[in-house]
Amino acid sequence: MSNPSLSWNLVWDLRELLAYPFMVQALAAGTIAAILSGVLGWYMVLRRQTFAGHTLSTMSFPGAAAGMLVALPAALGYYVACVIAALAMARRPDAHDGGGGIQSARIGTIQAVGLAAGFLLLALSRSILGGLDDLLFGSFLGITPMQVWTLAIVAIVVLGILAVIGRPLLFVSLDPEAAYALGVPVRALETTFLLMLALTVAATTQITGALLVFALLVSPPAAALRLAARPIPSLLLSVGCAVAVIWCALVAAYFTTYPLGFYTTTFAFGFYLAAVGAQQLMRARTRPVTA
């Protein structure tokens, strides 16, 4: 890959890109992460839990620091830290907090404690965190086949669970009181969702980095929810958008010298803007202009 350059022959470009194993692995990992975050992010945006998602993404810092302290892979640290944070965020069975205000205050506290713990762990291990740029902004150069397989297993587990609980989770997300009255286990579903979101964030962070995980987790679902008013088309649109974002970003990052995180965020934002524009257009068409 001495001098990658984009020609006008797209087949040729694609062949060049796929000649490198690291690029194939990056595309595979990116696609899995995009599908996962397209689905889980859709529920997250619908449930207005983006702050919880953001807090989970910052947990990769204490996770990576803890991993370094005990000489374990950073990726394992991501998963463990995210799952612990998700369990801490889940509502207590006896809680009567009722409001989103207290809930978000608790999440904010967890975020601060998590970051502080990361700082302490870093000091304890008496070293500096290697590859801080990659941790924060993501990289696609170092993805191993092992990581791709781990991602695939996480995706199969999370999407498998979601296939079973997807519909009651939608009911709970849209209309918790009616769901509760019909005997749907509201709290258990909420906690399960947070755990699945934690696994998704930990997986996606390895591609996008801790700070830009939102590009995949928020923008595609937000765009999809603007365009489709039925759950399943909206969910599929979200996944399609997330996959398109990561492919475009990987190709762009390969052929230029700029970082992947920048392209992921830019393409995601572009899709979101396009969705806002399309929604305005649709509204203008369905509503006759009154003088």
């Binding site: 009651p168 209309d175 509201v186």
Partner: protein, 293 residues
């Protein structure tokens, strides 16, 4: 009005009228040290339209939660659709109070109705499988959407509908499973007068066309008095059930509330209650949501 303090200690062994949709005998609820009400009796027959009335804090919502199986009785007995409260959840349609459904703003209204039918099912619908069952579900959703007169706007996002339209969609969601009992908690709150009358008429229609008994909690009897079969008045820890013409009278209501209340009968036979303790300030009240999941 049973006032014998001992009677609710011994629950009745069997219910005489097994066809009743709701049967509450000499029931009492205590939450902590506080007695919410005692000696409550209520019978609701199939297809009957009953209003539960009374001031804030009289325990109206608590009674609904008892019937839903969410709050246990501390005395007496209750049965819903021939079983203990909470056992026939699938056959009880419930319309909770003050529901905004903020997260559903961009979701099509028809999907909100559909959730009432299939939202609690585990697993996802697989294409080409159970095709007949899913077509039947869609037909049922269309049917109740038409029943509540929402055919022209059910395809629009829920958040774009007016308050009256949203309430119709939520009523459709509550009746889509063909329940035997429909429980509505303050369904007229935050609706303007024409919409209040329209929603009461709609509930009346649903009662007769779907053969479902409706139990409705309200502050103000006036918007619905023309449509009711019977009322249950709750005040001062006590309750009083009966048909509209015998309960909604100046003497009975004045005695129950302990403040002067006048019932006027208009030329076309409608009853108007004047001087209810609650009527002037029923907007903006926050009700306790302590039992929210």
């Amino acid at each position: 009005m049973p006032t014998d303090a001992q009677s609710h200690r011994t629950p009745p062994s069997g219910f005489a009228d097994t066809h009743a949709v709701v049967e509450v005998r000499d029931a009492a609820v205590r939450l902590g040290a506080r007695t919410i009400w005692t000696g409550l009796n209520l019978t609701v027959a199939p297809g009957e339209f009953t209003a539960i009335l009374g001031p804030n804090g009289a325990g109206k919502s608590t009674l609904l939660k008892v019937l839903l199986g969410l709050v246990p009785l501390s005395g007496g007995a209750a049965q819903v659709l021939g079983a203990l409260p909470g056992q026939r959840r699938e056959q009880v349609g419930y319309l909770p109070q003050h529901r905004q459904l903020e997260t559903a703003a961009r979701i099509r209204a028809r999907e909100i109705v559909r959730l009432g039918l299939t939202g609690s099912h585990w697993g996802v619908p697989v294409p080409f499988l159970r095709r007949e069952a899913r077509l039947a579900e869609s037909r049922r959703v269309d049917e109740v959407v038409e029943l509540v007169g929402a055919g022209t706007y059910a395809h629009r996002p829920f958040g774009e509908l007016s308050g009256g339209e949203q309430q119709r969609i939520l009523i459709a969601q509550a009746v889509v499973r063909r329940p035997g009992l429909l429980i509505l908690d303050e369904p007229l709150d935050s609706l303007d007068l024409p919409n209040q009358a329209a929603v009461v008429t709609l509930i009346r229609d649903v009662c007769s066309r779907e053969k479902v008994a409706a139990l409705l909690v309200a502050h103000d009897v006036n918007p619905m008095v023309f449509a009711l079969d019977q009322v249950l008045y709750m005040a001062n820890g006590q309750a009083f059930q009966g048909p509209v013409n015998t309960v909604i009278t100046t003497e009975r209501l004045t005695a129950l509330f302990g403040v002067p209340i006048e019932v006027l009968i208009t030329r076309d036979g409608r009853r108007v209650v004047v001087g209810q303790p609650e009527a002037p300030h029923h907007h903006g009240h926050r009700h306790d949501h302590a039992d929210h999941p």
